[in-house]
Amino acid sequence: MMTNLALGYDDLLAFWVTIKLALVTTFILIFLGTPLAWWLAKKNSWYRTLIEALVAMPLVLPPTVLGFYLLVAFSPQGPVGQAVEALGLAPLAFTFAGLVVGSVIYSTPFVVQPLLNTFQHIGRKPLEAAATLGASPIDRFFSIVLPMAKRGFITALTLGFAHTLGEFGVVLMIGGNIPGETQVLSIAIYSHVEALEYSRAHLLSAMLILFSLLLLLMLYRNNGSAQVMPDEA
C-alpha cells in the first residue's frame, strides 16, 4: 500500500506534459488573444458580434464536440490534416502539437474575455488624452493600454493556464493516452481509476486541487477584492 503512494514515472511525465501544455497554450493565447480582444473592444459591427459569439463557444459546447471535430479535421482526409501533410509536417492527431491546437481553441474565451473587459473598461478617453499629448497609436498601446490593463492580463494568464490544466474532454478525443506525449494529469487520473488504482488517483487529484487552489489564491491576491471575471464597466 505504501509503495503505491509514491508517484510513478508515468505520473511525473503526466505532470510535466500538463504543465508544458498549459504554459505553451497560455503563451500562444496571450499573443493571439490580445489583438483579438483589442479588435473586439474597438469594433462595433455585426461580424464583431459573430466573432465574439464564436470566441465564447467553448464555454457552452461539451469539450467532446470540439474534440470530435478537431479529430475529424486532423485526420489525413480532413482539411487541417491535408494542409499539414502538404506542408510536410507530422500529423497532429495523437501528438502534443495537436493538443496545443485543441487547448488554444478550448481556452480562448478564458483569455479573451478578461482582456476584452479590461480594454472596454479603460475606454477611449485615456487614449484620447495620450493622443493630444503626442502619443501615436502604437505608443498609446504600450504606454497606456498595457500598464492600465495589467490586472486584466494577470487574470487572463492565470485563467488560461488554470483552465488548460483541467482539460479532459478535448485531450481524450484528440490526444489519446500516450505517456510523455499526450497523457496529461486528468487523463492519468482517469486511467488510474479505470485500473482501480485509487490511491494513485487520490494523490494526483490532491496535487491538482492544491496546485489550482494555489494559482487562484495568487490571482485573487493580485486582484484584491476584484472578481475573476471583471464586471462590464
Partner: protein
C-alpha cells in the same frame, strides 16, 4: 495666428455645422448652453471628432482638408488639450504624467514657458511624487494643465476645465488659470457654459447654440446683443473695460477710467493703472431723462439708446451706448413707455452695482 475651419458633424441624435474664420489675437471663448456642440467643436479642432466635408487650417498648417484627403491625426497636431474630466493617467505619478508629455513634446517652445516656470506657476513642486489618484480635483486639474503645456503646443484647448470641480476647488484654481493666461504666449480656446467663467480671460467669443455659431465678437459686443439669449437671462449683464484711476481709502472705493466716463466701484485689489473688466448687471441700471440730484447712486453716465426689445411680459431690455462701452439696462415695460424709450434717445443711466469680473 489664423484659425479657419468648416465642418459638418452628425450623429444619430445631433448634428452640427461649424464655420470659423478668425485671427486669434488673444483668447477665444466658446460659450453656449449644454448640448449645443461647443465641446464637439473643440474635439473637432483636436482631431478627435471625425466630421465630413471638412477643412481646418491653423497658423498656416493644414490639419484637415477633405478635398485633397488630408487628415493629420491628433498626435501630430500642435495642440494641448485640457479635458473636462481631467484624465490623468492613474497608473503614473504626477511626475510620470508630466514626463509623458515632456518626452513627446514639440521641438520649439511656442508657449513661452519652460518646465520650471510651469511647475512654479501651477505650484506643483510638492505634488510631483504623489500618485495621481491621490490628489484633490483642483490639484488634478492643475497637473492636467501643466501636462498639456509641457507638450509645448502652439494652441491650448480647454474644455470646461472647472465643470467637474466643486466650488472651493474652482475658487482655488481660478488664480492659477489667471497666472497661466497672463504668461502664456499661445492662444487659448476655452469652452464653457458659463459667461462668468470666461468674461475675465477671453477677448473674443463664439456663441454656439444647437450645433451652429449664432454670434461672434468681442466679449463686450456679444454680451450686449439683444438678439441672443444671454441678454434675456435674469442675470443679464454688460462688460465694461477700463483702467484704475485712483483709490479712495477714506470710503474704500476705487475709480475706474473708461470711455464711458469715470466709474466708482468698491475697492479693487489692483494697483493704479491696471486694466480691469467690470460687470454691470442689467437689473442694476436705471434710466432717467434728467441727471438726478441728491441720489445715493454714485454713478450717473450719459448714454444713448442703441436698441430695445421686450423681455418677457413685464420688462424691456435696453442696450445703451456710453463712449465705446455698451451697457444693458432692464426696466419695466411701463417705465419704457413713460420715458418713450426708442433708439437714438439720450438719457442718463444710474448704475447701482458694479462688480469686478471673476
Amino acid at each position: 495666428m489664423r484659425l479657419d475651419l468648416k465642418t459638418h458633424i452628425s450623429r444619430s441624435d445631433f448634428s452640427c455645422h461649424f464655420e470659423v474664420n478668425l485671427e486669434l489675437t488673444g483668447n477665444l471663448a466658446i460659450i453656449g448652453p449644454s448640448g449645443s456642440g461647443k465641446t464637439t467643436l473643440l474635439r473637432y479642432i483636436a482631431g478627435l471628432e471625425p466630421g465630413f466635408n471638412s477643412h481646418l487650417t491653423f497658423n498656416g498648417q493644414v490639419w484637415r482638408d477633405d478635398a485633397v484627403g488630408i487628415m493629420v491625426p491628433p498626435h501630430k497636431r500642435d495642440i494641448g488639450y485640457v479635458f473636462q474630466d481631467i484624465l490623468l493617467f492613474e497608473h503614473l505619478t504626477v511626475q510620470g504624467n508630466l514626463d509623458f508629455a515632456t518626452r513627446r513634446a514639440s521641438q520649439q517652445t511656442a508657449t513661452g514657458l519652460e518646465y520650471g516656470e510651469i511647475i512654479e506657476l501651477l505650484d506643483l513642486k510638492k505634488l510631483l511624487q504623489r500618485k495621481s489618484d491621490r490628489l484633490s480635483g483642483g490639484e488634478k486639474q492643475r497637473v492636467a494643465i501643466a501636462r498639456a503645456l509641457l507638450r509645448r503646443p502652439s494652441l491650448l484647448l480647454m474644455d470646461e476645465p472647472l465643470a467637474n470641480l466643486d466650488q472651493s476647488s474652482k475658487d482655488t484654481i481660478i488664480p492659477y488659470l489667471d497666472r497661466i493666461t497672463r504668461h502664456l504666449k499661445i492662444p487659448i480656446l476655452y469652452v464653457s457654459h458659463s459667461l462668468d467663467e470666461v468674461a475675465r480671460l477671453a477677448d473674443y467669443i463664439l456663441y454656439v447654440e444647437q450645433g451652429s455659431i449664432l454670434a461672434q465678437g468681442t466679449i463686450k459686443e456679444v454680451v450686449a446683443r439683444l438678439d441672443l439669449p444671454l441678454a434675456h437671462r435674469a442675470n443679464a449683464s454688460s462688460v465694461i473695460e477700463g483702467e484704475i484711476d485712483s483709490h479712495d481709502s477714506q470710503f474704500n472705493l476705487s475709480t475706474l477710467r473708461s470711455s464711458a466716463g469715470m466709474i466708482s466701484v468698491a475697492h479693487l485689489p489692483y494697483p493704479e493703472g491696471s486694466r480691469v473688466r467690470l460687470r454691470v448687471m442689467a437689473r442694476d441700471v436705471s434710466l432717467c431723462l434728467e441727471p438726478p440730484k441728491n441720489t445715493s447712486i454714485l454713478n450717473c453716465i450719459p448714454v444713448r439708446v442703441r436698441d430695445c426689445v421686450d423681455d418677457m411680459d413685464v420688462y424691456v431690455i435696453v442696450s445703451l451706448d456710453a463712449g465705446d462701452e455698451i451697457i444693458l439696462s432692464r426696466i419695466t415695460r411701463k417705465s419704457a413707455h413713460s420715458l418713450k424709450i426708442k433708439p437714438g434717445l439720450e438719457l442718463y443711466a444710474q448704475v447701482k452695482g458694479v462688480a469686478l469680473v471673476n
